[in-house]
Amino acid sequence: MRRIIFFELKKLFRNRLILVMLVLLSILNIYHIYSEYARYVEKEKSYYDAYFNVYEDVSGEWDTDKIKFVVAEYEKAKAIVDAGTFSTEPDQPGTYTGYIFGDYGLFEKIKTEMDTLYHYDDTMAELAQKAADNAAFYQQKGNTYLMKVNQKIEKAYQNRNVSAFYDTFGLTEYFKYDFSTLLILILLIPLLSPLFAKEHEIEMYGLLKITPNFRKMSVCKVLAGAIAICLVGIVFLLEDLLTFTYLYHISGFSQPIYTLSAFFYSTLNVSIISYIVLNAALKLLGFLVLGGVCMFVSSLVKNEILPFCASFAVTLILVLTDAFIEHDLVSVLNPVTLFSNGKLFREFQVTSIFETPVYTFSLPIAAAVLELILLYTLTIFTSCATKRRQRG
């Protein structure tokens, strides 16, 4: 079986068009990340050079000296700015960014971030206490569901603490970036469309159906398709991570995800690196479902164009539905929701399932898993059903 999967994979990736597209789209991806980086950072190079340098100095475990340094530099810049005695000439000596006003903006940002993260434990403890009070109130009122919701809030936000301070600019940009998703989709459609259809088109199917391992071959083809999706996805997602890490000097991967301002109220209590893995896994799950659609259509028809057009149309509809239609059920069922999965984890969101609060983010994941099983089973079934039909 492993040999068949290997040969199927070889067949998929031997297509020169796919290989060339893979290489070129990977380069395009890096170029796009760089162009986005250049749009912000290169434009204000002196500011961002200072930004990365100062962050490098103040990053790490909480340290009184580092805090004092930031506060002192902020106060110093603020005093000059308040007095209005600062010069507007560039490259002033004794400044970090070249301008005193730039220093003021930089240290104000760092100070605010530090302050928020330093007091994060207290803020969350207060929130957890509020939730505990609410749970007791709802218990007294006999509202079991809201009691459970508040208990869940209490559980999610208690015992949180931030032990270190790191720059989060690069990571925020990384989690916002999803151009690679488009490129992966562009690549997956032509990669998977011929999987079954081509066997029909080149009349290979007639030969295959008389082989003893025909049924096994269908399963292998589907598995090879899934592995191909994962390989393509991993190439691009890894490329995103490495390029962002290099360009934005990302560090602090072991910090909790809630140290990023966008995930301040996230229900997840995992490290950034774990979330990166989770994010990639969920994206891959989405790709596997869309790839499943592609393979399913390919198993139904004897023409290569139809699965290509149908997969393109389905992907486009799902993407546009995700962008324009805000309906709970549609979002849950749409695998495209998993591509921008950050919004699922940013806030505390629960859905009532039989009067039990369930984290809303688990619903699209569960739906995608079900869709995946359904599509892959159907694909194997339809390819084998064809065999039966032809025998009959």
Binding site: I305, C309, E347
Partner: protein
């Protein structure tokens, strides 16, 4: 060639496909929002067209005088003294008072309609020789749109690609190769048929658009200069609108031919429909996505620019998105692009001929996508009112908070909305949400108590309001009505890291003044009228389309005053409104069988029956006492 035409149009029923796509084009043109059209011309169509009868064409002294005269008339209408003092003091009669109000409202309407004319006038004044007054919606919709015609693109793919690829997939090619005319000559014939089909498709689809816009908006003033149309105000071409439409059609045809040539060449090279369609689509869509805000999508020699067409005539683009600096596509650049594209088409024909002729072509199959992506790299894709006093049972002031026998809703000293229990005096916060600031005055800014349910309004002006029903027995909540909107500007949104514009949201701000719930029927008084919503079916009825001055609800009727302070009663059962013959009213309170109203002239309180009959004066009426009594 004749046989190829016969094969395509008769055997493969291309005519049927073209007809289907014409119908599809009609549907898309009907459904697709057209951002370049000025909606105000349609909103005030009758008034606008009346003015246009006089103004259409080149500006002259008479027209300038007409505009000045109309502006003066509107200002006069708006200056009408509509204060109630003149009426109360007896200086004017009721009829005169009402007439003044009517005139002022007419003035407001005319002002809105004339705003479009005034804007056009300002544009005309900048270049009176080349900018004329015109009702432009039909023309801008037809030639000012920068959307890619996907219908034409798909039609071309379905018609052109199989012309070549079918010969390979059916193995007909090996037979054709053995015939004397089956090589390059056959390809040239196919190429010619492809060109004819492309032109025919482009012309027919354009004709559908012409018919639609001529029927929907009309296409007047075709002989006027192109600069008369707002999107083309900076156009470098001194041509008429008819000329511009012809040029647009020519561009579409050329773009379709270019696309057809590309598809045919790719089909001959790759011999597989999928590859040809994939690379062909990439060549058009990739620059369309990457250069969405850039001039590059026009000057880059792909079929894309010609299929979009509008930009060649427009003549200016921002250097980078949102930049205030503009670059132009000059006529010279346009001609250069056409020449380069013609050269490319010729090259595509030659490559196709060689490939179809069976000669070994040394161009690697992988070169096409390489070239495509390299082009993208070379071009630098990085450039890429406050609430009114409201009387009746629903009172929006906290001191008159709605109550039932057990509790009332109040705000405590920290401004937290609370339920105050009458017997125990206990204060329980209304909202138990860990993530919201309970002291936020936008939360529970209005409440309405119906039995044991408290309906409260969370209102964030300018984008969102929501009415939530809270069951006070177990404090469970459900949202019963929610409206979200944005301002009237275009919104930039991101999809896969690429910016795109969301359609213009036309919805005006809807500030809720008060609401009333009865039997799953929600009555809302908003800044744009009084509305009745059925909470079970989401059905909506507009009871009154203007902001009500004063308002009260009962279970059977809605009472409101119009701008002239006359009271109307809207019967919920019969769904009809009737003016009550009780004269002008300063304010009123409704009860199930009638109204307590304060007369505008004598300042006395009267009780009138629900139908407005039997107006009976109530001496020494105390509003405060009345409200307290009703609270109890």
């Amino acid at each position: 060639m004749k046989y190829e035409l016969y094969k395509l149009f008769v055997k493969r029923r291309a005519w049927l496909l073209i007809l289907i796509f014409m119908a599809l084009r009609l549907i898309t043109v009907f459904l697709q929002p057209n951002y370049v059209m000025d909606y105000r011309m349609e909103m005030y169509h009758d008034t606008y067209m009346e003015h246009m009868k006089v103004l259409e064409g080149k500006l002259n002294d008479d027209k300038a005088a007409y505009i000045a005269e109309q502006n003066r008339k509107i200002n006069e209408l708006l200056k009408q003294d509509t204060s109630v003092e003149a009426y109360v003091s007896g200086e004017i009669t009721e009829e005169e008072f009402n007439e003044r109000y009517r005139q002022r409202n007419t003035g407001y309407q005319q002002q809105d309609a004339f705003e479009v004319i005034n804007e056009q006038y300002q544009n005309v004044l900048q270049d009176p020789e080349h900018v004329y007054f015109i009702y432009s919606n039909g023309w801008t919709g037809l030639i000012g749109n920068e959307d890619l015609d996907f219908v034409l693109l798909i039609l071309l793919m379905l018609l052109i690609v199989p012309m070549i690829c079918n010969e390979f997939s059916t193995d007909m090619y090996s037979i054709l190769r053995t015939t004397p005319n089956g090589g390059t000559r056959l390809f040239v014939s196919k190429f010619a048929v492809g060109m004819i089909t492309a032109v025919l498709s482009a012309v027919l689809l354009f004709a559908v658009e012409v018919i639609y816009f001529a029927a929907a908006c009309g296409l007047p003033g075709g002989t006027f200069p192109l600069q008369s149309l707002a999107p083309f105000a900076n156009s470098p071409y001194q041509i008429s609108i008819y000329g511009a439409a012809a040029l647009t059609l020519a561009n579409h045809c050329f773009g379709a031919m270019f696309m057809a040539a590309l598809l045919m060449c790719l089909s001959a090279l790759f011999r597989r429909s999928l590859s040809a369609i994939f690379i062909g689509t990439t060549c058009v869509l990739l620059p369309f996505i990457l250069f969405s805000e850039s001039i590059m999508k026009y000057v880059f020699p792909t079929p894309l620019g010609f299929l979009l067409s509008c930009g060649f005539l427009k003549g200016y683009f921002p250097v980078t998105p949102f930049s205030s600096q503009f670059v132009t596509i000059t006529p010279k650049q346009y001609i250069s692009t056409v020449c380069i594209s013609l050269g490319l088409m010729l090259m595509l024909l030659l490559i196709g001929m060689i490939a179809f002729g069976g000669k070994k072509i040394r161009i690697k199959k992988t070169l096409a996508p390489v070239l495509c992506i390299t082009f993208v790299f070379l071009t630098g894709c990085s450039n890429k009112s406050p609430a009114p006093d409201f009387s009746g049972f629903v009172y929006d002031k906290w001191s008159y908070q709605p109550v039932n026998e057990e509790f009332s809703v109040v705000r405590d000293e920290n401004n937290v909305a609370c339920i105050s229990y009458t017997k125990s005096g206990e204060l329980v916060p209304l909202i138990h949400d860990c993530f919201t600031d309970q002291t936020d005055l936008n939360l529970a800014s209005m409440t309405f108590v119906d039995g044991e349910t408290v309906y409260y309004l969370n209102q964030y002006q300018n984008y969102h309001y929501e009415i939530i029903a809270l069951d006070t027995r177990d404090f469970s909540e459900r949202s019963v009505h929610e409206v979200e909107w944005s301002d009237n500007t275009e919104e930039m949104d991101m999809l896969f890291g690429l910016g795109f514009y969301l359609p213009k949201k036309m919805q005006q701000d809807e500030v809720v003044d008060s609401f009333f719930v009865h039997d799953d029927q929600l009555f809302l008084s908003k800044s744009n009228g009084i509305y009745w919503y059925d909470l079970n079916s989401d059905r909506q009825i507009c009871i009154y389309d203007k902001k009500a001055d004063d308002l009260a609800f009962t279970c059977s009727a809605v009472y409101y005053t119009d701008e002239t302070l006359d009271v109307y009663r809207y019967d919920i059962k019969t769904r009809s409104a009737a003016k009550l013959p009780i004269g002008k009213t300063e304010r009123f309170y409704a009860v199930e069988n009638g109204l307590y109203c304060k007369d505008l002239l004598d300042g006395e309180f009267y009780f009138v029956n629900a139908d407005g009959s039997q107006k009976e004066r109530i001496p020494n009426f105390s509003e405060e006492h009345f409200l307290e009594e009703n609270e109890a």
